[in-house]
């Protein structure tokens, strides 16, 4: 009996020290390798949206003439435009993954390419995807990149220059097929990455300065396609009234023919975008052939590069491009270029998405809240510790120690799993500390009763724990049930605060049950063994 107690005590001390180490701020993390088994984990506090700032977006897949979550790799049998079926050929489907799963993979890759640290992409429900971008300062570009379908086409514009931002109908489909909704009027002069323009706010028109430079070979001087200078009268207005018959442009190539696309900085001093971000792309063999054939036959004509039915750039073909390489220039910021390259590199989404909810929080907002809440929590917990010590005396002190162990272990779990801490989550953690006391109180009250009926101290301790356990277990289960329901509710909507609270409270309750039974029990028994006579002579210390 004695040995078991000491063994348990040793384990408890070990666990506590480990928890302390995990909770320490400058934690080096866990890094070790045993043969092929590797673990590399940094152990940091993961801050939720309201504390760390950033953006959370829930995307909903829009149905395109049929089911979204079909399990075949190609949405055959759906009344969908052929280009969508064609796009699937890009991906190696992982055994029956449905379209939403494929889309999720692509979105994950795009998010990765954006370089947002600790970004997360989860599936929510059966047609929604939650994208979390912690700490990001300007979410607008990121959100556009992630959500846009990203279907790229090279289109024969003929003798007419198309302004970037123009929405066109190509031989592979109309804008509705991409966005799932009717497009409204087009606005000339919109920036290269502006999605469906529906805002009627007058903005200053921007002059397009775009060019496409085809790099024939590394040694030969780059052959520049002429920068189209929109002289007065030659630039057609891009607004197409809905009543006129819409012109259909012939698609020469699609994003399927791209082999790679990446961002680079223009090193050509003669170019318009010198030292600005441009996107270099390389075509696969089939695409290179098609491109060569087309450019040979259409020297002097315009070639429109289109993403999601919107013109990105529209250079003139100066000479045939046979090497299958090219550069896309536009008024890109580095972020925009990266985003576009990610869309091109990882492919177009198989389904269009719309945003159903968006949360943006400035990172500075959280700092203040953290400090206040931590301080408030410490005050509250300290009051609890004081109260327990005064009211229950020696057992109260034992409960205090158990409480501290509980807090350390639970917080260590938060860091280890990791659980994203939100403000309600912190409240839930603090609440569970207040409740962790409950188990101890149940035990002590029971012990007091047993002592009052005349049992010896040792027997009273044992009886106290045994009888109280059923109460503790039964009462905590109802809280655990509601936590489970809350978690379901929160995850269904990507409501991080709700599910964060549910998780912290759940963990808190579970760990508190553990600490009450093991830590308090062991400490009291050890105390009893060590100081039995002293305690029996001073029953007042037991809070009777």
């Amino acid at each position: 009996m004695r040995q078991k107690d000491y063994a348990l005590l040793a384990i408890i001390i070990l666990v506590t020290l480990t928890a302390l180490w995990i909770n320490w701020g400058d934690n080096p993390g866990i890094h070790f390798e045993i043969g092929d088994f590797r673990v590399h984990r940094d152990i940091n506090v993961l801050l939720g949206l309201d504390l760390g700032g950033g953006t959370e977006v829930v995307l909903e897949a829009m149905e395109i003439g049929g089911a979204i979550t079909d399990t075949t790799t190609v949405p055959g049998g759906l009344a969908c435009p052929p280009f969508l079926a064609g796009m699937f050929g890009q991906f190696v489907p992982t055994g029956g993954q449905d379209s939403l799963g494929v889309a999720q993979n692509i979105i994950e890759q795009r998010v990765d390419a954006l370089g947002v640290t600790e970004a997360r992409v989860h599936r929510v429900g059966d047609k929604r995807i939650l994208v979390e971008l912690p700490g990001i300062q300007d979410p607008a570009v990121a959100i556009r990149v992630i959500r846009e379908t990203g279907f790229m086409e090279f289109v024969d514009a003929g003798a007419v220059y198309l302004q970037p931002g123009t929405v066109v109908v190509t031989s592979l489909g109309a804008p509705e097929d991409i966005t799932g909704t009717q497009t409204v009027t087009t606005t000339p002069g919109a920036t290269a990455l502006a999605p469906t323009p529906t805002v009627a706010i007058p903005t200053a028109t921007t002059t397009p300065t775009v060019a496409v430079t085809a790099v024939v070979s590394p040694t030969a001087p780059p052959v520049t396609l002429a920068t189209p200078t929109p002289a007065a009268g030659t630039v057609p207005t891009a607004t197409e009234p809905v009543t006129k018959p819409v012109k259909v442009y012939q698609t020469v190539m699609t994003g399927r023919d791209l082999k790679t696309a990446y961002v680079t900085i223009d090193q050509d001093p003669a170019s318009d975008s010198y030292q600005k971000a441009i996107i270099a792309f390389e075509l696969n063999r089939e695409g290179a052939t098609k491109f060569a054939a087309f450019t040979s036959a259409n020297v002097g004509k315009y070639l429109a590069i289109i993403i999601d039915k919107r013109v990105i750039s529209c250079p003139v073909i100066n000479s045939p491009i046979t090497e299958g390489r090219g550069i896309i220039q536009g008024k890109f910021t580095l972020d925009e270029a990266r985003g576009l390259a990610a869309q091109l590199q990882y492919g177009a989404l198989p389904i269009p998405f719309r945003i159903v909810s968006e949360r943006v929080v400035d990172p500075t907002l959280g700092q203040d809240s953290i400090q206040k809440s931590v301080m408030a929590g410490l005050i509250g917990v300290f009051t609890v510790l004081l109260f327990m010590a005064i009211y229950y005396r020696v057992p109260g002190l034992v409960a205090d120690v158990a409480l501290v162990v509980f807090a350390l272990v639970t917080f260590a779990l938060f860091k280890l799993i990791p659980v994203a801490l939100t403000l309600p989550g912190i409240a839930g953690f603090l609440l569970s500390i207040g409740m962790a006391v409950d188990a101890n109180i149940l035990i002590f009250e029971r012990m007091k009763e047993e002592l009052r009926t005349g049992r010896s101290l040792g027997a009273a301790i044992q009886a106290g724990f045994d009888r109280a356990w059923t109460s503790i277990r039964d009462s905590n289960i109802s809280t655990l049930i509601t936590c489970a329901i809350l978690f379901w509710f929160g995850s269904n909507f990507g409501a991080g605060e709700v599910s964060g609270f549910a998780v912290t409270l759940f963990l808190g309750v579970v760990v508190s049950m553990f600490t009450a039974i093991t830590v308090t029990h062991t400490l009291i028994r050890v105390l009893f063994v060590v100081a039995r006579d002293f305690l029996q002579d001073h029953p007042g210390l037991l809070g009777l």
């Binding site: 556009r144 943006v360 929590g377 109260f387 309600p424 603090l430 109802s478 929160g490 909507f493």
Partner: protein, 312 residues
């Protein structure tokens, strides 16, 4: 032995005093704004956002920008001497939001988005439906659990139902309070409030179970004694523990309420009130109801009610 349960008529009266104003407020609320409590965007959909400017701005001017963009149902409030603006509107399309911010920036200089929360109207409806499901499922699960845990006691279903009635009592008090605050102070209810309500449900039942557990334990020990006496006994034994636990949890709640950040104040208040009534309802509602049921007082009450007019 102090007769706690004997005074149950007073407890029921007191509970009515707690609940009735809340119910009246909810009725008024439904009549004036359409819902029993003022709903936030989590349930209705829409956008709420806070923007910071470098110079004071007029709410009407800011509102005009939104209206031009097509968002006619917009309300704008300013704080911080007009430099910070809180805007409520219909669900903002992210591109519109960028365009509006650009427009505001061109008129008033740099704009910083402190936070924004957008929820499509459809999602809002789903959240509302899920909320109702969540509360219903929680209640049923808890009844089921109690019936299971107390199956060896005579009439286990009564324990479950009484616990749930106590829980409903607590929920009504909290809802009523927020209905009143919604009418008087414009407080809105969001997903976090639902979290508080569900947590209150969990705690309220937790408290009740501890008492019921003791009753369950005492019934075989005091066979032959009137039920009321056994219950009184059990209550006296557990009330101490209930209060001490409550006090400890309240220490933390009060500290958070007083010193914690403003953003979760409503959440903490809902939980605070819920937990206080949770303890009260375990002792003064759940248990007396059990006694009332056991003694068949409800049919007797109605019989007396209908006998009087006949006698007159």
């Amino acid at each position: 032995m102090y007769d706690i349960v004997g005074k149950r008529k007073w407890y029921f009266l007191f509970s009515s005093l707690l609940i009735v104003p809340g119910i009246i407020a909810m009725i008024i609320s439904t009549a004036t704004i359409g819902t029993p409590v003022r709903l936030g965007i989590d349930f209705t959909g829409g956008t709420i956002m806070e923007l910071a400017f470098t110079q004071p701005v007029q709410p009407a001017d800011v509102r005009a920008v939104f209206v031009i963009a097509g968002y006619t149902d917009t309300s704008v409030q300013t704080t911080d001497e007009g430099r910070t603006v809180i805007i409520r509107t219909a669900a903002l399309d992210p591109d519109d939001k960028e365009a509006i911010k650009a427009e505001l920036a061109s008129q008033y200089g740099a704009v910083k988005e402190i936070y924004s929360d957008t929820l499509g109207a459809q999602v809002g409806q789903e959240v509302t439906a899920s909320a109702i499901i969540a509360v219903t499922v929680a209640s049923l699960a808890i009844i089921g659990y109690i019936v299971l845990a107390f199956r060896k006691v005579p009439h286990p279903v009564r324990y479950g139902v009484c616990a749930v009635l106590a829980m409903i009592h607590d929920v009504l008090v909290v809802l009523g309070l927020f209905a009143i605050l919604g009418l008087l102070l414009g407080w809105e209810v969001d997903a976090l409030f639902l979290t508080a309500v569900l947590t209150v449900i969990g705690f309220s039942v937790q408290d009740t179970i501890v008492v019921f557990d003791r009753i369950r334990e005492n019934i075989p020990k005091h066979r032959g004694e009137p039920f009321e006496d056994i219950v009184n006994h059990s209550l006296l034994q557990t009330v101490h523990r209930s209060l001490v636990t409550q006090i400890n949890a309240l220490f933390v709640m009060v500290a958070l309420l007083l010193f914690g950040g403003a953003t979760i104040q409503q959440f903490i208040l809902a939980m605070f009130v819920g937990m206080v009534t949770g303890t009260y309802s375990s002792i003064c509602v759940a248990v007396p109801l059990l006694v009332v049921w056991e003694k068949g007082e409800v049919p007797a009450f109605f019989r007396r009610l209908f006998r009087r007019p006949a006698a007159a």
